[in-house]
């Protein structure tokens, strides 16, 4: 981010930035707030450290949660229950 761009964005103090950290990582901030947050993070080492930790934490959490898949036996059981209701799969495997 160039100095010219930084001059135009809203100034944000550390406490305000860190109150909005989760909202920022979840892309739930308005464009203007997100821009101010980015500007703060590139100029504030301690806040960037908290941001970096939070980002890695969320990445690890997502990977952990996504790794869980239903056992094959459950796929078969659900398909069996649906067939008993009259469901006719065209392609076979769930």
């Amino acid at each position: 981010m160039t100095n010219a761009v930084l001059d135009r964005v809203e100034q944000m103090d550390c406490q305000t930035a860190m109150r909005q950290l989760w909202d920022y990582l979840d892309t739930e901030l308005t464009e203007a707030r997100a821009l101010a947050m980015r500007a703060h993070l590139v100029t504030c080492g301690p806040c960037y450290g908290h941001y970096d930790f939070a980002r890695h934490f969320l990445d690890a959490l997502e990977a952990q949660l996504q790794a869980q898949v239903a056992p094959r036996i459950l796929h078969a059981r659900v398909l069996g229950a649906l067939r008993a209701e009259g469901f006719q799969p065209q392609f076979g495997e769930v």
């Binding site: 739930e28 959490l61 796929h75 059981r77 229950a81 649906l82």
Partner: protein, 205 residues
């Protein structure tokens, strides 16, 4: 008239219903995602399996009400959550009241302390997967559900609120508290591993 043994009457060939094919192609691929959500809601694996089956049975019966351009995963999650709530009511259990965090500051302060005492650096050397798995297991259902929806499945706060039938602010505060609790567990795990007995480098200078 000759007596007819009912057992000898063949079942009429079931006619393929309109919509079966679209249900198969649109709803069934979300089975793994519904399973993950059910695991976050149910108390054990057997209950989660029952919940997944009940979700797809309800979804099949209501398939004609699903809009083709709608978000099928979110629709299935909402059915799953409703089925879960129905089970809770039948069992006479009441969902636990929960308090959330108003913003991310408590989590940041927690990390700040971990940086100061060296736990943060030690956590970086820890295999996060088993630690996270244990930490997730300690969360109560309202927290697990929102973490699964937003952090696991990438729902927005609004979308998660629609699935759970709660205000967006409730999703947000539960999510923030859940993440802080998970981080607390991770830091505790690093400490339990006996890794924080050495004084942090910054204090030894």
């Amino acid at each position: 008239m000759l007596p007819v043994d009912p057992a000898t009457i063949p079942d009429p060939a079931p006619a393929s219903r309109p919509g079966d094919s679209s249900f198969e192609q649109t709803a069934l691929p979300w089975l793994d995602a519904v399973y993950r959500f059910a695991r976050s809601l149910a108390r054990n694996e057997a209950d989660a399996d029952d919940l997944v089956q009940e979700t797809f049975l309800r979804a099949l019966r209501a398939w004609h009400t699903f809009h083709a351009d709608g978000d099928c995963r979110r629709w299935l999650f909402a059915i799953c959550h409703n089925a879960h709530l129905g089970g809770i009511r039948q069992a006479g259990r009441r969902p636990a009241a929960v308090d959330g965090d108003i913003d991310s500051l408590p989590a940041v302060l927690l990390h700040h302390l971990a940086v100061k005492d060296g736990t943060d650096e030690l956590l970086a050397r820890l295999d996060l997967r088993p630690a996270l798995s244990r930490a997730l297991a300690t969360l109560s259902e309202p927290f697990r559900a929102v973490v699964l929806l937003v952090d696991g499945e990438g729902h927005t706060y609004t979308s998660a609120a629609e699935v759970l039938g709660v205000p967006v602010g409730t999703v947000r505060s539960r999510l923030f508290r859940a993440r802080r609790l998970l981080q607390e567990s991770l830091f505790a795990c690093a400490r339990d591993a006996g890794l924080t007995t050495e004084p942090p480098l910054s204090d030894s200078r």
